[in-house]
Amino acid sequence: MIGQGISRTDGPIKVTGRAAYSAERQDAGPTLHGYILGAGIGRGRVARIDIAAAEAAPGVRLVWTHENAPEQGPAEGIEGDMMDRTRPELASDRINYYGMPIAFVVAESFEEARAAAGLIAVEYELEPGAFTLSGFGPDLNWRRPSQAGDIDQAMREGPVTLEETYSTPYHFSQPMELHACIADWRDGHLHLYLTAQMVNQLTTGLGKTLRLDPGAISIDSAYVGGGFGSKIVLHCEAVLASLATMALGQPVKLMLTRRQIFTLVGHRPASISRVRLAATPDGRLTALGHDALIQVRTDDAWDEGVSSVGKALYASPNRLTRQAHQALDVQPGEPVRGPGELPGLMVLESAMDELAEKLGMDPIELRLRNDTQIDPDKRLPLSGRRLADCLREGAEQFGWRDRPTRPASRRDGRWLVGYGVASSMRGHYQTSAEVLVRIEPDGFVIVRSDMTDIGTGTYTIVAQVVAEALGVPMSQIKVELAHTKHPKGNGAGGSWGAANTTVAADRAAAELRARIAVVAGTGYNDIFAEVRRHFPDGIEEIGKTLDNKDDPNYRTHAQYTYGASFAEVGVDIDTGEVRLRRMLGVFAAGRILNAKTARSQLIGGMIWGVSAALQEAGVLDPRHGHWVNGDFAEYLIPTHADIPAIDAIMLEDFDDKANHLGVKGIGELGAGGTGGSVANAVYNATGVRVRDFPITLAKLLPGLP
């Protein structure tokens, strides 16, 4: 059962439009509708705000600004866990970033709420803001350093060295389902139908903000229309809808607009990297340095780990990775798929390609030569380190031997054609999680967890694992997810959800089997018959996983997932337009729970890498601090026409250090180094190296013949 490419169990309701996502839930009955007015400046204060016309508009039930919004728990410093912090809204006249909520309208209809928000007159007191990531300044406060040997000396000794600066732009998750919440205050209990990747984690910060006991808050996220990191932390839609239902005693629905999601939900920070590499003529790295400057918010610090990928990807006796911050007046950064490694690997794997060129080496050979079985940072054995297998298998399957060895040497009509390769790597994390498995005497197994299925296939893989553990058909397993009333895990994020949830579920099932065996032996044929006989009220157990820090295997082995990406691109010789022609990813990510859904998720991740290399970039106006291209017409993500045949191969794998199922995560891994492989293919096609991502036609044109 485990590993089989079983179709999603939630497929039939999703393809028929019957799955109800947050704002579509009818549980609360008819709702009022909220609409947020965002600040029209990047930094300053609200000098005057006039809501009289809005209050008098048809259908309006409530208009709040900082002058009349309910008292909330005060904003907290950035020291604590980002998941537990308060998020007070409309708490003061301060404007910290463009689009920050300055008023909130609730009306009987969406149309009325939106129109009333447009009637609010605002005068601002503008303050100069910082909106440009300026580059490495003199007095940098370096963070997260990981060091070995003396990189400066190694760079001086060479003999082959590379020192280049790369930059990566702001990225946005932008899942297809808009951020939305229905809040329903009923009998002293707050029910939220929220689009979220984690549910129980949100009640602490929300409770403190609303001054409610977290136990008085329920969150239900049964179906989530994508997340990619953007639905992890608490956002304003949950806070404002909650405050409004508590004030009005009626359910309130709040959907952010697509444009608002560009300002009210965090982005992946922009970065500037300086990469230093040195190698012997036969391609052994003697220096690996990655300094990254990361944009943060003035009073918040989502530290996108751009430089961290260099800690353990390749062996080098001299190594230094570290990062510094520059604070700007934009909304706080947040996790976006492949945090750290998507931009970091795109940069480092571009630099490795440049080094291979300098050495006159095949870029795969360069990577193989610097492979390691010991984590250079943690100095621990690496479990399941199969980067070399991924590179070799991919080279074979992709036909790497046919690659143009000289840049700009292959033509297909007006297309310049090039191949590129890059490595992927992603830490395997584990958190404490609990899952309940219950066998009902009526012939069903119920699995309960607050884990979400954001497109990750959770409903399906959990059923597979429990079906195998108990020896019952999947059709007899009901998986109930994504509600705060269920046992707490750590939600979907960081690629830990699948391993956490299935391992805990499997342990619960094993406990159940053990309890049944005590009374029925092990030779029974029908588990439900035994349950009916010995446990007429049913039987249940909670299985648990340990957090990394409590797991002895984490002290003895460094755990990662690995991959290699191969891309073929065409670059229009006249216009510089880049189009992907084909792509292959090969991955070693532990045991695969479902070959079908895993392949889909890896391919999806790879496509994120393609658009990171070629299209995606949030553009911030340096004068006003607003996102210039904040919608789907201007912030380009791929369309069908951008994506040709892509395949992902998953190597047969089992990481016994990760957990007893041998399972690791794959949500981020696909995105990992894919951008680098595309960038390297563009170079191979054109001979033009663009170090300022994304690689757009305007940047290629000057170098084209």
Binding site: V15, P58, M176, G226
Partner: protein, 174 residues
Amino acid sequence: MTATPRLPVTLSVNGETRTLTLDPRVTLLDALREHLLLTGTKKGCDQGQCGACTVLVNGRRINSCLSLAVMHEGDEISTIEGLGTPEALHPMQAAFIEHDGFQCGYCTPGQILSSLSVIEEIRAGVPSHVTGDLEAPIPLSDAEIRERMSGNLCRCAAYPNIMAAIRDYLGEGA
């Protein structure tokens, strides 16, 4: 406080006559989702930039977010709810499940309605950006299908699997 004026409009939705009294600002999308509680039609951008709200009006696919409900007096609207049920799937819906043509499922109703329209549009000889000879019959090629499906964004990026589903459906002799 004055009341918002409302207008009557009668639509045929999935073959059923529905009469509503609506604020003229209500889009066809919101009429379906908020007034008829047909939430299978998705709001992904509300500005014609993603295709999640695709429905058929008198047999042609449009973005329901960029049309007012009152403009559709007497029109026949077809949504995902009218195509198949979980118990009796349309073959295209079954193909999407078999080939995992979605992950989160939010853009999926729009993708499925578009995929059926795309096939019809090709067969009807409507050219596309990738059509070579404008006067010859248009092939049901991968390039033609991809180009025509491009008005439906998928952030999970299930594109290759959606193509496989459409191919499979065509192979079944649609």
